[in-house]
């Protein structure tokens, strides 16, 4: 296991040292020794943000943070929830929070109903992507937020456009899905068997 001695260093130096080691050596497990609680918490959070699982031990006045990276856990975890066998891959791209044109209130009701009924697609539903005004469905206060969370629990991957969230200043209000970029969206559209755009 790769060991990093970051004792005697103040924030943010221990995090930087850990970051540099991860980048250069890409270790599967790492042990970081720090001598203060702030650095310990910062290093632990940094490792977790990089997909490591962490454990903490106290050794005299020092803290030992051990991070283990369950061999690229993120990618594999996702792969496990991907539909298998003959399921189709349907991507639904919501570029609006209203279904159709005409009356806005009716449009919102229809959209809510549409998203709730989507589950009838079963395992064929593969990606749910929100862009432009559609991102407003994925924030707190959205009528379908609980439905979307339930979808996510079943393994459906929900992508929410980061540029759009940022544009509407809603980045910190997003409640569901992964913040994503255009390349992810384009790639998903390419891989999908069918794309339904709203």
């Amino acid at each position: 296991m790769k060991e990093i001695d970051a004792r005697g260093l103040a924030c943010p130096a221990p995090v930087l040292q850990t970051k540099a080691t991860l980048q250069e050596e890409k270790p599967a497990a790492v042990k970081v020794v720090v001598d203060n609680a702030a650095s310990q918490q910062n290093v632990q959070r940094f490792l977790e943000s990089q997909g490591f699982q962490t454990t903490l031990k106290q050794q005299g006045a020092d803290f030992l943070v051990v991070g283990t990276c369950g061999s690229e856990p993120r990618e594999h975890a996702q792969a496990a929830t991907e539909p298998e066998g003959d399921a189709k891959k349907i991507m639904v791209l919501c570029a609006t929070d209203r279904l159709g044109f005409g009356d806005d209130e009716l449009g919102l009701k229809l959209m809510v109903n549409f998203l709730r009924t989507l589950k009838e697609m079963g395992p064929d539903l593969w990606r749910l992507v929100f862009v432009n005004n559609g991102v407003k469905l994925a924030i707190d206060g959205s009528e379908v937020i609980e439905d979307l969370k339930a979808y996510e629990k079943t393994g459906l991957k929900i992508l929410v456009c980061g540029t759009c969230l940022n544009y509407f200043k809603l980045l910190d209000r997003k409640q569901v899905g992964e913040t994503t970029n255009m390349l992810d969206i384009v790639t998903a559209a390419q891989l999908a068997d069918k794309v339904i755009t709203l």
Binding site: C11, V15, Q41, N42, R45, D140, L171, D172
Partner: protein
């Protein structure tokens, strides 16, 4: 006990933002001093921020700053004197913007650079605003977004883009003058400026001894978006952890408040905004007036209630 006299309106025992001394029935002096080591690389910006920070204590007391004096510690053997000139120019320009005159100062040689100012202002003795004075049904208004400590940590780590460096510098250098002037038109009961103890640390000082409770809606607290991202990566200044540890017994977080947002609420601020406790019926108008005057990040962030006694509930 420290010696005092009958004209001391706010002295040492209160640990407020500045001292206040009554000169006559309609005039009191506000005095404050503040200095620190550089928090940004650019000397001119450092001067501006140091001045904005020193002036802020006078605004937080409801006063108008009038005069200032420089305090300088400079490693004259190791550092080029032009750096000091730029720092002082930054401070001077900020004072000019505030309508304050520089009337003197003092410098010494030191191994580490330090700059700050002592500021004197005036206030009507009956209109002094302190940290005490919260009333039930008040609303709390904050005039600058949080996150400067976390973002400065990311800058130290070399992880912040130049636009963000510029943005946070501008934020720290922004005077609380307009916020103070607008606030004077409303029924304000208590005020402080948010600095090293973080929002919740300074709020805890206001709540202590009040017998009242404070509810904060964390989603309404303005926070720099980037600060939340950096916090989740562990780029949090040690001071934020200390602030949390110190005030944890007074603060109750709802489960839904994410860890990074909690960190932002404890993040030590440099030259932060004013935290204003205003009569509940006027909060909306105050926020609107602040926005109209250009203090656009202002937001109503919570309320003062009769309980739970001396606790801060964050939802």
């Amino acid at each position: 006990m420290f010696p005092t006299d009958a004209n001391v309106i706010v002295g040492l025992e209160r640990a407020d933002d500045a001292g206040v001394y009554k000169i006559s029935d309609d005039l009191a002096l506000i005095q404050t001093v503040d200095f620190f080591t550089p928090i940004v690389d650019d000397p001119y910006s450092f001067g501006q921020i140091a001045a904005a920070n020193a002036l802020s204590d006078v605004y937080a007391m409801g006063g108008v700053p009038k005069t200032a004096m420089n305090l300088v510690a400079f490693p004259v053997k190791d550092m080029e004197i032009g750096i000091l000139r730029r720092i002082i120019q930054g401070g001077l320009d900020k004072l000019t913007e505030a309508g304050v005159v520089l009337i003197g100062g003092h410098s010494i040689e030191d191994r580490e650079l330090k700059y700050g100012l002592s500021v004197t202002g005036t206030v009507h003795p009956q209109r002094v605003l302190t940290k005490n004075g919260l009333r039930a049904n008040d609303r709390l208004v904050l005039t600058k977004p949080l996150g400067t400590g976390i973002v400065n940590t990311a800058i130290k780590a070399g992880m912040a883009p130049p636009e963000l460096v510029e943005q946070v510098t501008r934020l720290m250098a922004a005077l609380n003058r307009t916020a103070g002037e607008v606030m004077a038109r409303f029924d304000v009961h208590a005020c402080t400026d948010v600095t090293g103890f973080g929002l919740l640390g300074h709020l805890a000082e206001m709540v202590s001894g009040s017998g009242l409770g404070v509810h904060i809606d964390s989603r309404k607290v303005p926070v720099m978006v980037e600060a939340l991202t950096y916090a989740s990566m562990g780029l949090i200044p040690a001071g934020a952890y200390r602030n949390r540890e110190f005030r944890e017994p007074m603060v109750v977080f709802a489960e839904a408040v994410e860890r990074s947002r909690q960190d932002a609420l404890f993040d030590p601020q440099t030259s932060g905004g004013l935290l204003i406790s205003v009569s509940g019926t006027q909060a909306g108008d105050l926020v609107k007036a602040l926005g109209d005057a250009g203090v656009g990040d202002s937001a109503e962030i919570g309320a003062v209630l009769t309980g739970p006694e001396e606790k801060i509930w964050v939802v």
